[in-house]
Amino acid sequence: MRYIPNTSEDRQAMLNSLGYEKIEDLFQDIPEQVRKAAVFDVGQGMSEYELKKHVRALAEKNQTVDQCISFMGAGAYDHFIPSFVDQLLLRSEFYTAYTPYQPEISQGTLQAIFEYQSLICELTGMDASNASVYDGATATAEAANMAVAATRRNKILYSKGLHPEYAQTLKTYCWSQGFEVEEVDLEQGITSAGQAEEKLNKKDAACLIVQYPNFYGCVEDLEELAKKVQAQKALLIAVVTEPVALGILKSPGELGADIVAGEAQGFGNHIAFGGPYLGFLAANEKQIRRLPGRIVGKTRDVDGKVGYVLTLQAREQHIRREKASSNICSNQALCALAATMTMSALGKEGLREMAETNLQKAHYAYRQLTSLPQVKAVYPGQAFFNEFVIELPKPAGEVIEELRKEGIWPGVNLSVICEDLNKCLLVCVTELRTKDEIDRLAERLGGVL
């Protein structure tokens, strides 16, 4: 009877009213062979309290970032989330609703998405945003699709500074569509403008994908790359995994990006072992009708009142079927709502303040760490926001292991992601870290080297 109101008497009465005797009568249309086979076992049901004990025990087997001092980023950023966000997300009118197909009773979701789109446009400096896609990686892949459609070329160039998991996802998507993919190397931590130019000059590339700031923390010179891309009539796709950086960095739009794809988890969504996050996708005017997924527009009702609706649906799978710009249906609406609430709470000044605090703390940490004799800055002189790479005299894995015992997670081990960087650590410092914690990291890191 779990979560089922109808009692056995109700059910029997309903069956009888339909002329059936037993519930199995309703399954006669299933071939007997199939029915017979359909035995499965996921265990016995648990009462709510038993479930709670069981699941809590699982949760307690994990160590959280609150139980240590974490300097982990690499596409999953632990930023401050105002407490009210989760309480508002628990308003069931939001989270128990479906995609807002019936606008008259979905104005809450629709208006919030409209606000979300506006905020993303403000942040990225673009004209249009959709209502979210699954995550930054799939946003990147979708952006590549858009570029192919826009240019009718099917080679994708991407910088090696793109998050490795995004690059892998991109490759998977491109493989299945038969697009070619080529990597552009880094030079001193940023995309090699020379190599990019060379590859672009072949005029067969739909786009160049560059992460900003890139995976290794370095701020790319988007403007320069944009010029090279535009010269060859390709599109520049900027990928942002750490949107807080846009509180202080010039927007990709201003620098000439045609599409901005990225991950907005950093606003209002917990790191949550990798998901759910939310991919954002923004584009300039020309690409609007190539955007995948939901888009909300403003309109009026029969009485002239302002209202919001899903719009430009002729791009979507439920209308266009195999000709749709993407197959995406459900997106990450509630995560986008969390991001909307958080960006609203931060506001113009708060976002700037948050970005600056990240910048200051990360640079302080950089100074402290790189002043250790055994620690080497890997990309000295490159501008970075809240993440940077250091090289250690021994394998990063060992150092992580040792510091973990002292309650410090010093950063992401790059060797796991790129085999050749096995002594490198990607250190992220957000506004949540304190001076004391940074000092402690520096001191203990010095201690174990």
Partner: protein, 485 residues
């Protein structure tokens, strides 16, 4: 007094949250980042206080209808009750506060949960191996079809470039096939609303990569010839893909694996009671038969000999990654809780009552509305408003009129093969009383349509806004607020 946009209540200098202080020695910003990279204009985020934000979104929420507001018989979407305990447990810091790259030793509880969920989903679907990566149903479809592509490629069977979908299929099916680089072949349904075996036979050949099917199909009808279909497809060298959006109909009564399907996706946000969130996040795990396991996206969660759990990236034939990290983890937590709460018997019972409720509604509604396929349905069924055409009343009007009575309307105009379709899925979490009330209102609206067309075609009246002008919204898209508007 409609709530304005959050931008419209912005006031210079206001701030809605209280950030940790910058307690480190600071440098000039220009010394850290070259001026040319620095914004010279701050992004125009709204400036509002905490109470403003809270009131704003509280107010917006009241403009929405959710499952907790009332009946939500949106066909194909399985709008069942979202258990609150799952919301509570998925918010435990032991789940929400884990970094995806933290050492596996420190995330054993999370990995164990994922491992068990993989196993349980295998059980429910009769498949051999599950990947939890995909973020939603359509994403599962894409990953699943890619697996099929990889399978054919590995075998060197390179001419298989077509995917067959019935004309009743959900839009994501053909869209997915296209997105995975296949050509879509649509086949017509037969008079019983099922796959037409002859049409299928005609479509099948050595270029067939797969048939995509949902069973029960989008008419809510079980494809009774499924075993024959499977045999035909397999004989032609194709594979069978199962769109699992409708598994809520058949748990304990039919498993895709037993029906001959090779790949299946789940919509955990339908079948396993996780909330739809106003359009996500969902979770769309895929399950495959053993011979396809090697192609699943990386990583899967595995159990080592010492009993510990780990992420397995060592799958050389994998299609690769389909998203960053490991899928929508917190949604998985909710689905896990759901499965553990119900257990084997509870899941079967859920399907039983879902089907009972649907048949009960169908039998009662067919007294007034036209039912194009009059046979036992599964968890949903499709009626239409054909009888009302002479009165100038359409399905859309009925949907809008339902709003006035506090209902979310059924899915409308889908599947495409039924004209003026109303696709109704009550789910098992609704009571007979709710169904009876809905039947009464549907009858009332039917009568209204006959007696008083204007009343119906101008509905709704009791909503925050009335019918919206979608045409000019699309013609003249305003899709963002701008400062000087």
């Amino acid at each position: 007094m409609r709530e304005p946009l959050i931008f419209e209540i912005s006031k210079k200098g206001r701030k809605g949250c209280y950030l940790p202080p910058c307690d480190v020695p600071t440098q000039k910003v220009g010394e850290m980042i070259p001026e040319k990279y620095l914004r010279d204009k701050k992004a125009e985020l709204p400036e509002v206080s905490e109470i403003d934000v809270v009131r704003h979104f509280t107010k917006l929420s009241t403009y929405n209808h959710g499952v907790d507001t009332g009946f939500y018989p949106l066909g194909s979407c399985t709008m069942k009750y979202n258990p609150k305990i799952n919301e509570e447990l998925s918010r435990l810091t032991g789940f929400a506060r884990l970094h995806p790259y933290q050492p596996e030793e420190t995330a054993q509880g999370a990995l164990e949960l994922m491992y068990t969920l993989q196993k349980d989903l295998c059980q429910v679907a009769g498949m051999d191996k599950v990947s939890l990566q995909p973020a939603a149903g359509a994403h599962g479809e894409l990953a699943g079809i890619m697996v099929i592509k990889a399978y054919h490629e590995k075998r060197g069977d390179l001419k298989r470039n077509k995917v067959i979908v019935p004309d009743s299929a959900h839009g994501t099916n053909p869209a997915t096939a296209n997105m995975a680089g296949f050509k879509t072949i649509e086949i017509a349904s037969n008079a019983r609303g099922e796959v037409d075996l002859e049409a299928l036979a005609r479509a099948l050949d050595d270029t067939t990569a797969a048939l995509m099917l949902t069973n029960p199909n989008t008419l809510g009808l079980f494809e009774s010839q499924i075993l024959e279909i499977a045999e035909m497809v397999h004989k032609a060298g194709g594979l069978l893909y199962y769109d699992g959006a409708n598994i809520n109909a058949v748990m304990g009564y039919a498993r895709p694996g037993d029906m001959g399907f090779d790949v299946v996706h789940f919509n955990l946000h339908k079948t396993m009671g996780t909330p739809h969130g106003g359009g996500g996040p969902g979770s769309g795990p895929i399950g495959v038969k053993k011979r396809l396991a090697e192609f699943l996206p990386v990583p899967t969660v595995e159990k080592a000999d010492d009993g510990s759990f780990y992420l397995n990236y060592d799958m050389p034939d994998s299609i690769g990654k389909v998203k960053a990290f490991y899928g929508n983890f917190l949604v998985m937590v909710k689905a896990y809780c759901y499965i553990k709460a119900l257990g084997t018997d509870g899941l079967k019972e859920a399907s039983e009552v879902a089907v009972l409720n649907a048949n009960y509604l169908m039998e009662n509604l067919k007294k007034t509305y036209h039912l194009p396929y009059d046979r036992i349905c599964k968890h949903e069924f499709v009626i239409n408003s054909k009888n009302l055409k002479p009165y100038g009343v359409h399905t859309l009007d009925i949907a809008k009129r339902l709003l006035d009575f506090g209902y979310h309307p059924p899915t409308v105009y889908f599947p495409l093969i039924v004209e003026e379709a109303l696709m109704i899925e009550p789910t098992e979490t609704e009571s007979r009383e709710t169904l009876d009330d809905f039947i009464a209102i549907m009858e009332k609206i039917h009568q209204e349509a006959i007696d008083n067309k204007e009343l119906v075609v101008n509905a709704p009246y009791n909503t925050v806004v009335r019918r919206l002008d979608e045409v000019s919204a699309a013609r003249n898209p305003i899709i963002r607020w701008k400062k000087d508007e």
